[in-house]
Each structure stands twice: as C-alpha cells, then as structure tokens.
C-alpha cells in the first residue's frame, strides 16, 4: 500500500473516515514508521494548537463571566442566577477567578516524556454501558459548580446548547456516563505536564499514556466502565466520544460537558488542592 496522503492520515486521526477506510489506514500505520511519525506529528500539533488557544483564552477579560443558573441541577451550588432575562439583559458578570496554569511553550517534552506523577488527583471520567434512565425536564445547558444529579438527554434538541459548563470548586471532577454501548471511539487531547491514564474495565481494558489517547473501545452491551485520569495540573484538554465533544478543560478548571442522546451524565466535583 502506498503511503496515505496527509489529509487521509489527519482524517483518520480526527475520526472522519468510514470504518473500512479507517481500518485500512490503521493497518498501514501499524506497520509503517513513516506514517506513524506523521500521526505523532498530528498529536503534537494538536496539542500545540490547544496550548496556543489556552494561552489566548487565559487573556480573556474577566468581564466575560458565565452566569450560573440555579435551574440546571438539583443540589448544585449556584453562584449567580441569571433569571429569565432577555438577550439584551445579558450584562457581563464577574468571572470566578481561576487558577491560570502558565503555558509552557512548547509542551511536547512534557507530553512525550512525562510520566504520570499525579495520578491520584485530577479528573476522572467513567463511562459505562447500560440502559439510560430517562430524566425528563432537565435543562440542556448552563453553568454550575456540580451536576449533583445525573442528567439524561432523551433527545438532543438542536435548538438548545446541550452543553453544561461546570466550574469545579476545588478542581477535580468525576464524570459518569451511562448508556454508552457498542464500539465507542474515545479521543483525548491535552496540553500540560504529565500523562493521561485511560482505563476501561469490562470487555476491553487498556492503558494508554502520553499526549493523546485515541482508541475505539467495544463496550458491548453489558455494563462497562471507562476511566480517564488527568493530571492535576492539566492545562487544557478536549475529550471526544465518537467524534463529538464530551468535555473540554481549560486551565485545569472549566469543564464543558456535552450532551449525548440517551446517555446519562453525572458530574461531581471533588477536592483538589
């Protein structure tokens, strides 16, 4: 097989190829050091882009605060209720000061060579298989400290944001997903020191380290659990499930959790120094 073009490799990297083409490219890459090196370069470049954008974001004005809505989750501590305001009333609110992780340019050394030193702390993500419990009446977006109760999207309303912004109080966060089954592509890109641990208990089990975890897990039809542990001092990260954004982390704190139809999502902030 001839070497795939860069755009094909990047499309494979981004999960944009059909299954059969993706399998063919993956088979080639597994036996081709040159193409593997190009894939690694995509990893590094993606991490560099993430780091660059994190630096830009860290320079956002504090007036770009995200209001907190008390209707989003039972038990969530509400920082600020926006009420039922119209768009013209969206006055900027005070941003909750965040701990800005100084950007290290570039981050490649830390990503490639760094071993996990702080596995215990960080962000843990669980993904399990099973039937999703339908919880109706949940809003589909907003900002809270903690989604204390699970939220299920019984249908994705395209007119709604379907994204939760979670601002942890102390840092670490547990995200639990139920309702995920079958072949599930998990993709994680992050910038910062340390490694990301991905463990899946159940039909598949794997342990990835280094800059980017990208794999397809067959979670089957029986309950399974996927666990991702991020370093405590994570600068930024994006997590995709089947090509769709599940979560995004900036400066180790701001978490955007996307909604998936039929999937129950629970987020709990836990302490981190």
């Amino acid at each position: 097989m001839n070497h795939p073009d860069s755009e094909v490799l990047l499309a494979r990297f981004d999960g944009e190829l059909s299954d059969d083409v993706a399998a063919s490219v993956a088979s080639h890459v597994d036996h081709c050091d040159a193409c593997l090196a190009r894939m690694v370069e995509f990893e590094v470049t993606t991490s560099d882009v993430a780091a660059a954008l994190a630096a830009i974001d860290a320079n956002e004005p504090v007036s770009w605060a995200t209001p907190f809505h008390d209707a989003l989750a039972d038990g969530a501590r509400v920082e600020q209720a926006a009420g039922d305001r119209g768009p013209s009333d969206l006055a900027p609110a005070e941003r909750v000061p965040s701990t800005v992780v100084p950007l290290r340019i570039p981050v490649r050394r830390a990503l490639v060579n760094g071993r996990a030193l702080r596995w215990a702390a960080g962000i843990v993500l669980f993904a399990g298989a099973g039937a999703a419990a339908a919880i109706l009446g949940r809003p589909s977006g907003g900002t809270v400290d903690t989604l204390a109760d699970p939220v299920t999207a019984t249908s994705i309303d395209a007119a709604l944001p379907n994204v939760f912004h979670v601002q942890p109080v102390n840092g670490s966060i547990d995200i639990a997903l139920t309702g995920v089954a079958g072949p599930t592509h998990i993709d994680v890109v992050f910038a910062g020191e340390g490694d990301v641990l991905i463990e899946a208990a159940g039909p598949d089990r794997l342990h990835l380290d280094n800059a980017r975890g990208s794999t397809t897990l067959d979670l089957g039809t029986t309950p399974a659990r996927l666990r991702m542990t991020f370093p405590a001092n994570l600068g930024s990260a994006t997590i995709r499930v089947d090509g769709r954004p599940l979560g995004r982390i900036d400066n180790g704190r701001l978490i955007e959790v996307g909604m998936f139809e039929g999937v129950t999502i629970a987020v709990e902030a836990t302490g981190r120094s």
Binding site: D14, A50, G86, I105, T143
Partner: protein, 165 residues
C-alpha cells in the same frame, strides 16, 4: 422537556462565540461586538430552519469577523492587558504577556481560513460542520484541515522553535 428561559439557553452560546471570536482576532472588543450582533441575528432568524444552530451561529460570527477584516485595514491587536484574569506577579504577568504575544504572532501568520479551520477543529466540530461554518465544500475539508495544520506547525516552529525535542 420543560421550558428553559431563553437567556439560559443562549448563555453558553454567547460564551462560545465570545471565545471563538477572541481566538480568531485577539481583540476583546471585536469579540463582544460580534457576539452581540450574532445573537441579535439569531433572534430575527427562524431557528426552526437552522439544521445545526450551533454551526449557524459560528458561521454568522465567522462572516462578521470577515466583514470587519475587510472593512478595516487595521491589524489585529492584542487587547490591553487590563481586566484579565487573576492578578499575577510582575514576572508572571510578563511571562503571560510574552506567551500571548508569541501565540498571537503564530496565529496572525496564518490565513484567516486556516485560523478558522484550526479553531473550529479544536472546538470539536466535525468536518461537515466546519465546512458549513467556513463556507467551503465538505469534500475539501480533509485537504484544508491538513493544510491548516501544516501551516500552523511551520509557523509554530518558526516562532518557538522545536525547544521541546
């Protein structure tokens, strides 16, 4: 699903658009203006006709940024280092400003379309959605994305070097 106040629905989108435009331009005032204009246009649009409202908003914001760029010969500028995040020590502040300046330099070397590609890709959009936002043919997306990545890599290495290796 019970009704959610409109402001709550659009607030995450407003934040997304603010961040997106800020990433594109590096200018906080532009981001605020574009975000406001984008949401105003959403109000007057038939949202039921939007196949992908999020992509629709990004497309409107992208076009507004392009319009502004065409109308103004002024280069993008870094926002004044006031009103930003937590106050840093002077050395930290200096380091942060230098970092932002270097990153902005890298991004500003790219063509606007390449910038859009990178930022939208990093924001989690699929190729089909990026094509919709950027107004390009979906089938050309793999090539455009790969080209943007390569150009970013070249600009990045030129600016910061391969200090990591």
């Amino acid at each position: 699903m019970e009704a959610v106040p409109f402001a709550e629905r659009i607030e995450p989108l407003r934040c997304e658009i603010l961040r997106y435009v800020h990433r594109l331009t590096g200018d906080a005032d532009t981001a605020e203006d574009v975000a406001q204009e984008t949401l105003l246009r959403m109000l007057s649009a038939e949202i039921d006709e939007m196949r992908n409202p999020r992509a629709w908003l990004y497309r409107v914001a992208t076009n507004l940024v392009r319009d502004r760029a065409r109308k103004s010969a002024r280069e993008r500028q870094l926002e004044a280092p006031v009103d930003t995040q937590t106050p840093d020590r002077p050395d930290q502040e200096l380091e942060r400003r230098e970092t932002v300046a270097r990153v902005r330099s890298v991004l500003d070397r790219l063509a606007p379309r390449d910038r859009e590609m990178l930022i939208l890709r990093q924001s989690g959009f699929r190729y089909s959605e990026i094509a919709e936002v950027a107004g390009v043919q979906p089938q050309s997306m793999p090539v455009l994305a790969a080209r943007a990545m390569a150009r970013f890599r070249a600009a990045w290495l030129a600016e910061v070097g391969d200090e990591s290796s």
